[in-house]
């Protein structure tokens, strides 16, 4: 115990040293004055002292867990309490009903501002689920995902401002454009190893933004495109409130559609091939799976969702410019997937809602949000790589004898 204290004390001292110039000193080079913020030093000292205990405890716990897994005779995977509850129909049915009612009633319970934020959160739910296909299921780390989102948004912006096309025509076109870009960009790079793929996609994302910023004729450069119409409904005139509520329900349908599709794919021939590819590329091709095709389908499908909600994003904001499509957005979607659990649909939904809504409602957090996302990624990788809700695998049928199977 004394040893622990001493260790934490040293850690604390180390962090005081480490953070001293940046946290304590602040120089104003114009007025030539130095501001000494000694209180920060105290915060760091105390914080580091406490956190080092937590850190050590968490690491030890992690070690114990892997040991247990190695030495237990019982090979059956133990579902967590949460999973067991979710599997019990007595629990999940009422929960589902409550969630459904809350979702439907939401726009009538809160004001327009909140609904608008919720629409944004739902957009990120779909983005999370889309990225989850390539990162979570197929293991293709895409750091430029936001580029496809931009493709969708600008597809609508351009189709509308140049030729006057409406939302409903642009929506599928946006999705298809996302998909098309996914295929075209994906094709040459998919044979790259995982980490190289990540960097190349980061490159694509950044190139997309720079091109949008500088191509005045098509994208209107840094000024962006304004006056994009909200989603229409058979030419009905709607005030802002009605339109926002309408967009909200539209997004709910979109989320449901995404869940439906991802869920079906996850436990299908295609989804299994994606996962196998994630687990072991060489074994996967050696078992007869066409790698290029499988990777491309995951990448392009992920891009499809981004393109689709890109259109809705443009319609929600009625204004788009390149600043909505930076690496930060890609990182945000990635932390949603990481926090939610790679491959887990429920997890991604919860993570998207938490990560988008929390900084909006807890103003104190909003300053720290990127800091928090960074920390989330690190901590999740170390302590809970499977995410908040780990991906539960489907159990196919019961035990069947071959004869029984042949007859039925």
């Amino acid at each position: 115990m004394v040893g622990y204290f001493k260790q934490s004390f040293l850690v604390s001292l180390w962090f005081v040293f480490l953070t001293f110039p940046l946290m304590v000193v602040k120089v104003n080079t114009l007025k030539n004055v130095v501001e000494w913020r000694w209180m920060n030093m105290v915060y760091v000292a105390v914080g580091a002292f406490v956190l080092s205990f937590v850190w050590r405890w968490a690491l030890e716990r992690r070690q114990r867990k892997t040991k247990e897994a190695e030495f237990s005779d019982d090979v059956l995977a133990k579902p967590t309490v949460g999973q067991r509850l979710l599997e019990d129909p007595k629990v999940f049915k009422p929960v589902l009903i409550v969630i459904a009612l809350a979702t439907l009633g939401f726009p009538w319970l809160v004001d327009i501002y909140q609904v608008n934020i919720m629409v944004l959160a739902l957009i990120f739910v779909v983005l999370g689920l889309g990225l989850n296909i390539s990162v979570g299921l197929a293991g293709l780390l895409d750091l430029g995902y936001v580029a496809f989102f931009a493709v969708g948004a600008y597809t609508y912006g351009i189709m509308n401002s140049f030729w006057g096309f409406g939302f409903w025509i642009s929506l599928p076109v946006g999705g298809l454009m996302g998909c098309l870009f996914g295929v075209v960009l994906g094709f040459p790079i998919l044979r790259l190893r995982g980490d190289y793929l990540a960097i190349v996609t980061l490159g694509f994302g950044s190139i997309a933004k720079i091109v949008i910023e500088n191509w005045e004729e098509l994208f209107n450069g840094a000024k962006g495109i304004a006056g994009i119409p909200r989603p229409g409904l058979f030419g009905l005139e709607m005030n802002i409130e009605a339109a926002t509520t309408y967009t909200y329900y539209l997004m709910i349908l979109m989320v449901l559609f995404t869940i439906f599709v991802t869920n079906r794919l996850k436990d299908s021939r295609i989804g299994r091939a994606w996962m196998a590819l994630r687990e072991d590329e060489i074994a996967c091709v050696a078992m007869g799976v066409d790698m290029a095709r499988t990777k491309l389908s995951a990448y392009a499908l992920g891009a499809f969702w981004a393109g689709l909600v890109g259109v809705i994003f443009a319609a929600r904001n009625t204004y788009i410019n390149p600043n909505s499509f930076t690496f930060m957005e890609s990182a945000l979607v990635l932390s949603i997937v990481v926090l939610g659990g790679m491959g887990s649909i429920v997890g991604v939904i919860i993570a998207a809602l938490v990560l988008i809504l929390m900084p909006e409602y807890l103003r104190a957090f909003s300053e720290y949000r990127m800091l928090m996302f960074g920390a989330v990624m690190v901590l999740m990788m170390i302590f809970r790589p499977e995410g908040l809700i780990s991906n539960v695998r489907k159990k196919y049928g019961g035990r069947k004898s071959p004869t029984e199977a042949a007859h039925g």
Binding site: W14, F17, L18, T19, P21, L22, M23, V25, K26, V27, N28, T29, L30, N32, V33, V34, N40, L59, R62, G139, L141, L143, P188, I189, L192, R193, G194, D195, Y196, A198, I199, V200, L202, G203, F204, S206, I207, I210, V211, N214, I282, F327, A331, L334, S335, V338, E367, Y368, M370, L371, F373, G374, A375, V376, M377, V378, M381, I382, P385
Partner: protein, 300 residues
């Protein structure tokens, strides 16, 4: 002709900075096959520490070269400390994890450090003092190459030579090479692999800090975001030269710097960054082993 020379010298300057940062990427990748995404942030922190130190010293009446040297030394010490801590917290617990886990952790660390500096200091650009003195003997060619440029080139060259000697002849260097070739084997013959990895991060971070101080005093202003672009470009340089290959990183840096400078000078400066990314994408697709790297087949 002068324009060409000007572009050439600015390309060399850029290139040698990219090379300094690229060395950190390449050394880390060579040993633990990790793209240390947060390496650019170490460079940024090095520049910030130098700015803070020199600001304080200026206010307390120091002057000239003594500031430069003190600021650079303290920046290097801090960069080393950050690099060391970074590895211990974010990468060491993931030594045996699937390959993408440490990369995601690295991205998280990069975001964290960026925003840490943003919150602890400021989101605005800060003016970096002019620490590099003007030499009189540079007067005649000042229109193609200034004193600051000369200092950057000389410092980078000395640093790289120093690094090469360190790796060739010292115990640490030998241990690093052994670990790079075969980590298990190195451990068996008694190399303390953890220590070697820490050393690699420390050396890489010191090089990045040197780069940070040089760039900051050359360009004259910094903010929390400078590490991101510099990091990506340096990584491009490392890949261009053949990742894991130390002379490759130096060569890659120079080639990228020159190419960028000429592209910006003769084609268009708006697309300067696109150009760097383009190089990265093409190299990875066409020749992932880089200019000097050897193609290796994964053992099955």
């Amino acid at each position: 002709m002068d324009y060409f020379l000007e572009l050439f010298s600015s390309g060399m300057v850029r290139g040698s900075i990219y090379a300094l940062i690229a060395l950190g990427y390449t050394m880390v990748y060579g040993i633990i096959q990790l793209i240390n995404f947060a390496h650019g942030e170490i460079y940024m922190i090095g520049a910030f520490v130098a700015l803070i130190v020199s600001g304080v010293l200026t206010i307390y009446g120091f002057s000239g070269v003594s500031i430069l040297i003190l600021a650079a030394v303290i920046a290097m010490i801090y960069a080393a400390a950050y690099g060391y801590t970074l590895e211990k917290i974010a990468y060491r617990p993931l030594r045996n994890a699937p390959r993408l886990s440490p990369l995601i952790s690295a991205i998280g660390m990069s975001l964290f450090l960026q925003n840490y500096v943003l919150l602890a200091q400021t989101p605005d650009f800060l003016r970096f003092p002019e620490l590099i003195p003007e030499f009189e003997f540079m007067e005649p060619i000042a229109h193609v190459m200034g004193s600051a440029e000369l200092i950057i080139l000389v410092t980078s060259a000395i640093t790289m030579i120093g690094l090469t000697l360190l790796i060739k002849f010292t115990r640490v260097g030998k241990a690093m090479r052994a670990t790079q070739q075969d980590m298990t084997m190195a451990r068996l013959v008694g190399v303390n692999v953890d220590q070697v990895i820490s050393m690699t991060f420390i050396i890489g971070s010191v090089l990045a800090a040197i780069g940070g101080v040089l760039v900051a005093s050359y360009i004259g202003q910094i903010n929390f975001y400078i590490g991101f672009m510099a990091g990506v470009k340096a990584f491009t340089a490392a890949v261009l030269g053949g990742i894991g290959n130390i002379p490759g990183a130096a060569l890659g840096g120079i080639v990228l710097g020159l190419a960028e400078s000429f592209a910006a000078g003769y084609v268009s400066s708006a697309y300067e960054d696109v150009f760097a990314f383009g190089v990265l994408v093409f190299i990875l697709i066409l020749r992932p082993s880089g200019l000097l790297g050897k193609a290796v087949k994964q053992k099955v």
